[in-house]
């Protein structure tokens, strides 16, 4: 899942200051699941912006709408009937959603309401942690199912650095040492020998090193 966090209100207010009518668009996918941009957050942000603007003497009109998914153009079409009655759009979806809206409504300013953070898993209620950096060349099969790219602060691919202490990373006690986790897993799997192999320098092209990435499924693509 893609995780996100609402931007500080102050930043959002700067965006919308020039406008009188705003469409605030939520997304019912990832950002709902990570409680950053679903129907409820849309309501909260609308109220917050409305109040903040009122304080500065503007009574901004905010329309709320939450789409099933903002990264698909068909869903974005739902906004067509509303778009003319607003001056600007603010999206609570991840960066994909923001860009899709911008692409669909030319000439309409579109602002992001959240900071898109990472691809993560929910550790427990209200806590999400990074798990994947979309490197495009998954090596989890060799690292016991724990990703050193996403979870080692130095992206080390050949074992823990000298700062690994008691299972946590040198950058903080709340961060697990990915290599300590990998080693535990390899031991459980009886694959300690995997550690001995030297992982050569990574080819970053599949991870975006070669520019914006694209997937084309030939059987589906028209």
């Amino acid at each position: 899942m893609i995780t996100a966090e609402r931007k500080p209100l102050e930043e959002l207010i700067e965006y919308i200051k020039p406008f009188k009518r705003l469409l605030l668009v939520g997304c019912n996918e990832c950002v709902t699941v990570c409680a950053a941009g679903g129907r409820k957050e849309v309501g909260l942000l609308a109220s917050g912006l409305h109040m903040a603007m009122l304080k500065s003497g503007t009574n901004i009109e905010i329309h709320e709408h939450t789409l099933e998914r903002q990264c698909d153009p068909e869903y974005i079409d739902e906004l067509v009937p509303m778009i003319d009655s607003v001056d600007a759009v603010m999206s609570m979806a991840c960066g994909c959603g923001v860009q899709e809206i911008a692409r669909r409504f030319k000439g309409k300013p579109v602002f992001p309401a959240v900071n898109t953070k990472f691809m993560g898993a929910s550790e427990r209620q209200g806590v999400w942690s990074e798990r994947c950096q979309g490197c495009g060349d998954c090596l989890l099969g060799k690292t016991g199912g724990v990703c050193p790219i996403a979870r080692c602060a130095k992206q080390l691919m050949n074992g823990p650095c000298g700062g690994s202490t008691g299972g946590h990373c040198e950058i903080g006690e709340d961060v697990d040492c990915a290599w300590a986790l990998i080693w535990e897993r390899l031991k459980e799997l009886g694959q300690e020998d995997r550690f001995v192999e030297i992982t050569p320098a990574k080819d970053w092209r599949p991870g975006g090193g070669a520019g914006p990435r694209k997937i084309i499924r030939e059987d589906l693509a028209e």
Binding site: L9, M51, A52, L54
Partner: protein, 151 residues
Amino acid sequence: MENFEPVIVAFCCHYCAYTAADMAGSQRLAYPANVKIIRVPCSSKVDALHLVKAFEKGADGVYVAGCLEGDCHFKNGNMRAARLVESVQKYLEEIGIERERLEMVMMSAGMGYRFAQVATEMTEKIRKLGPSSIHVALVGRESTLQPAGII
């Protein structure tokens, strides 16, 4: 805003604070009429949206009243509500509303006197803080209307 009379919303758990409010009634313990109660089955039923919307509509103060620690009928609803209130307080500050305008209080069903005391203290506190900036803005905007909150 002379003689400012704040409007305060109290979200009260059915099992404790709402009962305590009734108790204050049967004991005839006077408290300011500024406090208006909305009954909920558990303080954890109160949604961040309810709190924020109350301020958006012009509330000068809001509080959530739940059971004493350990007494929640639904295990830990009151503690969840306390955490929610804390996070909404932060949001209010972002918006530019003093966090003191929102509070979590806890009491048992038998504490009629405490209900009256909390209502009185909250009203006094809000009175000192003055009308919320949203309240002021709403009044200013609809200048043709009666001054708000002054009954």
